[in-house]
């Protein structure tokens, strides 16, 4: 059982009064992450909504030392910090428990421009937590497509709906043979919290991806962020799982879908809630394009179900 939301610690690392939109999933996710990490941490950010939200120099909406770095380099910059801290401690220049080094990066900075540096850091198994908050587009620059944008979705650079499926980044990270990979979403805060606590205590590279429905890009009503995210999980469009040393286990309610105990809700309802699929849903070929999206989801479920059977 995941920790109940009522039992999460009171500590707030996301301070009140930042620049995010109301209902921002990135800020919501970061708030839970803050409860799990506590204040002894160093945060890296790449250009994104979470930077736009943090307040302009010299103000700061997050209660950590925060370093803004180049868009492509969250993985390698986090490596630089963690190695620096470790060697300074070995040399007697730092004392006490070392801070957790974590990168807080959008899907653009993870799936696309930051993929190489992330892959390098993972392959080196450097001691960091890399969070991707995945709002499935470049929101900060006005909602352009990313490698995480699902098929069919409208963005300003896919005006008739994206034709390609998204990458499965979490699985790609799993195949880097790192000690911990997890997926989460803001609708299941206890699950996210537990995963971050677990990651914090594992040395080496940890990758946690948080699905983050963004009302602006996805075009739904601002107060419905959490509900959107829950619908994504119930339809199987987002799966909750974690893998310690390559061994996958599924978390509720995704585990019920994977095991066949419960059917995933059809994707239509989830798609219909979002304006970004409007054009597709209203087009003459709507049926076949929805079938394509459903096909993408079914394939991912089938794939990870089989992948989870590999436990050596």
């Amino acid at each position: 059982m995941a920790t109940s939301i009522k039992k999460l610690p009171d500590i707030e690392q996301v301070l009140s009064g930042n620049g995010a939109c109301g209902g921002c999933p990135a800020t919501m996710g970061l708030r839970i992450v803050g409860k799990a990490l506590g204040s002894n941490a160093i945060m890296l950010l790449t250009p994104s909504c979470s930077v736009a939200s943090m307040g302009m120099t010299p103000r700061l909406g997050y209660n950590w030392p925060c370093i803004n770095i180049t868009f492509a380099s969250a993985g390698s910059s986090a490596s630089g910090i963690t190695h620096a801290l470790e060697v300074m401690q070995e040399k007697g220049r730092l004392h006490g428990e070392l801070p957790t080094v974590f990168a807080w990066v959008g899907d653009g900075g993870t799936y696309d421009i930051g993929f190489q540096a992330l892959s390098g850091a993972a392959e080196r198994n450097d001691n960091i937590i890399f969070f991707c908050y995945n709002n499935e587009a470049y929101s900060n620059t006005g909602v352009q497509r990313s490698g995480a944008t699902p098929r069919g979705s409208f963005t300003t650079t896919t005006p008739t709906g994206k034709r390609q499926p998204k990458k499965n980044m979490a699985l790609l990270m799993l195949e880097h043979n790192i000690p911990y990979v997890a997926t989460a979403t803001v609708a299941y805060p206890g699950d996210l919290y537990d995963k971050v606590v677990k990651a914090k205590n594992i040395p080496g590279m940890k990758y946690i991806e948080i699905q983050a429905p963004c009302y602006l890009g996805w075009q739904f009503d601002m107060p419905e962020t959490v509900q959107m995210s829950r619908m994504a999980v119930r339809s199987g469009a987002w799966l909750l799982w974690e893998a310690e040393n390559g061994k996958i286990s599924f978390n509720n309610p995704s585990s019920l879908i994977i095991s066949g105990k419960k059917d995933a809700a059809p994707v239509d309802e989830y798609l219909m809630k979002q304006g970004r699929f409007n054009r597709l849903l209203k087009g003459p070929d709507a049926e076949s394009r929805i079938a394509e999206i459903q096909g993408d989801i079914d394939r991912e479920i089938a794939f990870i179900r089989e992948r989870a059977k590999i436990t050596i």
Binding site: S77, G80, A84, K91
Partner: protein, 376 residues
């Protein structure tokens, strides 16, 4: 001065030895000819415990500089090295190092840039980074590489500006020359441990390099520009104190040879500066009053020292190992003319581009070029 040791060594390995004696903490690295041997040597030193540091084998140079700046922001002394396309690939992050006021030291082993590929030396790579806000030295010998890296750490950490130590691929990086190694005790006296004024520290949550409005952004940039100029006295002081402690001297912002009474002055940087001394001797034997002025410091450009050092009515022959695209000739000549304008109207400046992509620059060749330029 404690007993120094004299060995035969390559420029690349001399660089690695200097980095080791600077007691660096973090070395991110990625191979590229002709720099690779520096990284290999440092990786081996870390592996066998000779150097207590972390070597981070990153997956490319953008990441190499990204790891370097972040490690520096965490409070570590950081070194990396690169060449040519590796340096170009870092470009965006070079700006973060200078704008972030992070005292990273880097060797750039000069190599011509793609396309087409060449493995051999010229200075287009570092000249293309002229406007990144880094201090740039150019060295003319293996010994000077060693000495300059230590001076670079001192200057960088005094003024919080990153420093690039340039030297030519192969002619310096791969050639054996005698190398005097000062004692570690002397080096420690010259280069104290790095104590950053600020670092990423959870006890003091603050943002670093976050978004600014113009009223904050503009002063940051102005300060950087001012401080780069203000590094000149620190460069001189570092050279002088290094000399006081180790007895070695390569010049400070500039190095000169037979300059006092010269009527014809060769003006060039990097390994050309060593070979040109011999060209000057050849010209002197031919009855030409020749001398050499070699800027060690390319950026900031040591305008005052150059203006003071040039003899009256000299003809200055600028030998550029790079192109100043869009202008005839090379970049050094432009820089020199810009500082002489209105200050030294007695000086004539002539310019030739040579040695591109490693074309051999012998003493005889350069002496002949200078003679030919005299008749232009």
């Amino acid at each position: 001065m404690k007993t120094a040791q004299v060995i035969m060594d390559t420029g690349a390995h001399a660089a690695a030895l200097a980095v080791k004696s600077a007691r660096v903490d973090v070395v991110p690295g990625y191979p590229i000819t002709p720099q690779t041997s520096i990284m290999e040597a440092l990786a081996a030193m870390v592996e066998n415990g000779e150097l207590h540091a972390r070597f981070i084998p990153v997956e490319g140079e953008h990441s190499s500089m990204a790891a370097a700046v972040a490690a520096s922001a965490a409070g570590a002394r950081v070194f990396t090295a690169t060449s040519a396309n590796g340096l170009l690939y870092m470009h965006e992050v070079l700006h973060m190092a200078s704008g972030g006021r992070l005292p990273v030291v880097m060797c750039n082993v000069n190599r011509g840039i793609f396309a087409p590929w060449t493995l051999w030396a010229d200075h287009q790579d570092s000249m293309a980074q002229r406007d990144t806000g880094w201090i740039q030295y150019h060295c003319s010998s293996n010994q000077e590489v060693f000495n300059t890296i230590l001076q670079a750490f001192r200057v960088a950490e005094q003024i919080n500006i990153p420093v690039m130590v340039n030297f030519d691929g192969f002619a310096i990086s791969h050639c054996l020359m005698p190398l005097t190694l000062p004692s570690q005790e002397d080096i420690d006296r010259f280069l104290p441990p790095y104590e950053p004024e600020w670092r990423l520290d959870p006890a003091h949550p603050s943002s670093f390099s976050n978004v600014t409005n113009a009223p904050e952004y503009a002063p940051f940039r102005q300060m950087l520009s001012d401080d780069i100029m203000a590094s000149i006295p620190l460069v001189k002081q570092a050279a002088q104190e290094y000399k006081d402690i180790t007895g070695m001297w390569d010049g400070d912002t500039i190095d000169t040879y037979r300059l006092e009474d010269a009527e014809v002055v060769a003006f060039a940087i990097n390994s050309m500066g060593a070979e040109l001394r011999l060209s000057i001797d050849i010209l002197r034997q031919q009855g030409i009053k020749a001398g050499l002025l070699r800027p060690r410091l390319y950026l900031p450009f040591p305008a005052e020292d150059i203006i003071t050092a040039l003899p009256q009515n000299a003809q200055v022959m600028v030998l550029d190992r790079n192109y100043n695209f869009g202008h005839p000739g090379g970049i050094l000549a432009s820089e020199l003319k810009s500082v002489l304008f209105g200050r030294r109207n007695d000086i004539t400046v002539k310019n030739r581009v040579m040695g591109i992509g490693g074309i051999d620059l012998t003493r005889q060749f350069m002496a002949a070029e200078i003679r030919a330029m005299m008749d232009e």
